[in-house]
Amino acid sequence: MSRHIAFYELRDALAQLGCPLCRLETRVAERYLDFLLWERVNDPDLRQNLRQARGFCREHAWMLVRPGASLGIAVMLHDVLQDVLQSLNDAVMQPSQEVRRPLERLRMTIAPAPPPAVAGIVAALEPQGEQICPACVQCRVMEEVYLDVLLDSLSEAGGLLEAYQSSDGLCLPHFRRAVQRVRTQRVLDALLHAQRTVWERLRYQLGEVIRKNDHRFHDEPWGEEADAWLRVIEALVGAAPTQPEVPGRVRGEDGYERTGR
């Protein structure tokens, strides 16, 4: 049976630690940002998108930082900042619309919605239209492809069900998006069963960590539950956005790997 390249990428990602979708999305973003920095810095469409999006989202902005990227970043952000400055140059507050009443000022502190006098200026500084970080757009497209391939393969012979069950499974945010794309009872059953297997294992391991912190069992050797405190974070919120140096993890070839497994 012929397979989509995404199938093999998923199969490989499932054999590694952490949520396979987070891992693949990070790779998609890394490749896209590389392509952007080395090939597209002077592309007028990209620059317009970036100006309208007011730059990159926080996660992808800091992923741009890599050796030799300084000029590319400077060129793109110089452009965005100039556009933002232009909005500030045009900004004027009408004196007649000053907020003088104490109650109004109190309301602004508690729930700061921009008053009419500055609403236009605040809106001009927001991302324009529906434009969002271009790396997020790329990741969202690929995420849908990977999720559809994963769901299709769960109920077919030679699919990814077994690999899924022995992996760390999807993180909760990706699991929610997978559930949203399920189209049959059979696939949902397979997905739920696999995810429950993964999370039951993790729950047991967390219980073991708590038990072994008890003074009565403190001398028992640590097993595969040793890094469960990190895996549960990834399981509930997804991989670390800026990949901080977390004790217990060492850098692998393509990201962060954990010791202990």
């Binding site: 965005v80 900004a91 919605a113 500084l125 993790l202 405190w229 399981a235």
Partner: protein, 244 residues
């Protein structure tokens, strides 16, 4: 005139690199997480909030383990995981709502297909915001309110603000939304414009010095301008302490 603590915090943060509100917000988050781990792990109310939020947001969840392994983290997350697993116990398939409009939309653009399993999805979604985000946003509001109220006047924040790296784009928007009058507005926008113009010039200088004709020129204050621009437009890399 009596000043609040936030005034002095802001004044001190303005002498340090980066957006002062981002820095103080990050410090507040760090303190809140420490307090959570050392004081509130077994607080039933706190645990309910965290369960309802389905844990924390991505950023704050990872900040929770920056200090290394902690029994507190495991106890909190074990609880959330148990709750999420319970939600899966009773899950049953629910097809997408079969309205004509949604069927047409799915047929035209499969990527915008109507979501299936709406009930299960609604249960799995956070039922409350990340409790650390709530705390951080409160701190942020107080700081920005102090900034706009104390910007002008004798001994106000205008002078340290002018010497600082200014606000990031997100906090400038929030500050503008709270400006009480045109004087404060003009001062805030004027100073911010000056700071960002300086940064834009530094970026231009950085670009110029990458040209082979000027490559030999020594780097000056434009060094690191790319990173400063990233922080201004997209928010800082997570700052967890006052160092640097």
């Amino acid at each position: 005139m009596g000043r609040t603590m936030s005034f002095y915090d802001l004044r001190d943060a303005m002498a340090l690199p980066g957006c002062p509100v981002c820095r103080l917000k990050a410090n507040a988050v760090r303190r809140h997480l420490d307090n959570l781990l050392w004081e509130s792990v077994n607080d039933a109310g706190v645990r309910r909030e965290i369960r309802n939020a389905r844990g924390f947001c991505q950023q704050h969840a990872w900040q929770l383990v920056e200090g290394g392994s902690s029994l507190g983290v495991v106890i909190i997350m074990h609880d959330v995981m148990q709750h999420v697993l319970q939600l899966l116990e009773t899950a049953a398939f629910q097809p997408p709502a079969p309205t004509l409009r949604q069927r047409a939309r799915s047929a035209l653009d499969p990527s915008r297909a109507a979501p299936a399993n709406a009930e299960l999805l609604a249960k799995l979604r956070p039922q409350a915001p990340c409790p650390v985000c709530v705390h951080a946003e409160t701190t942020e509001r107080v700081l920005i309110s102090t900034l706009v109220q104390e910007l002008l006047g004798e001994g106000g924040l205008l002078s340290p603000f002018r010497a600082s790296e200014g606000l990031c784009l997100s906090h400038l928007r929030q500050a503008l939304a709270q400006t009480p009058n045109a004087e404060v507005f003009d001062a805030l926008v004027g100073v911010q414009r000056e700071i960002w113009r300086r940064l834009t010039d530094q970026l231009a200088e950085l670009i110029r010095k990458e040209d082979y004709r000027f490559r030999h020129e020594a780097r000056g204050e434009e060094r690191g301008a790319s990173l400063r621009a990233l922080a201004i437009l997209s928010g800082p890399r997570i700052i967890t302490s006052d160092a640097g």
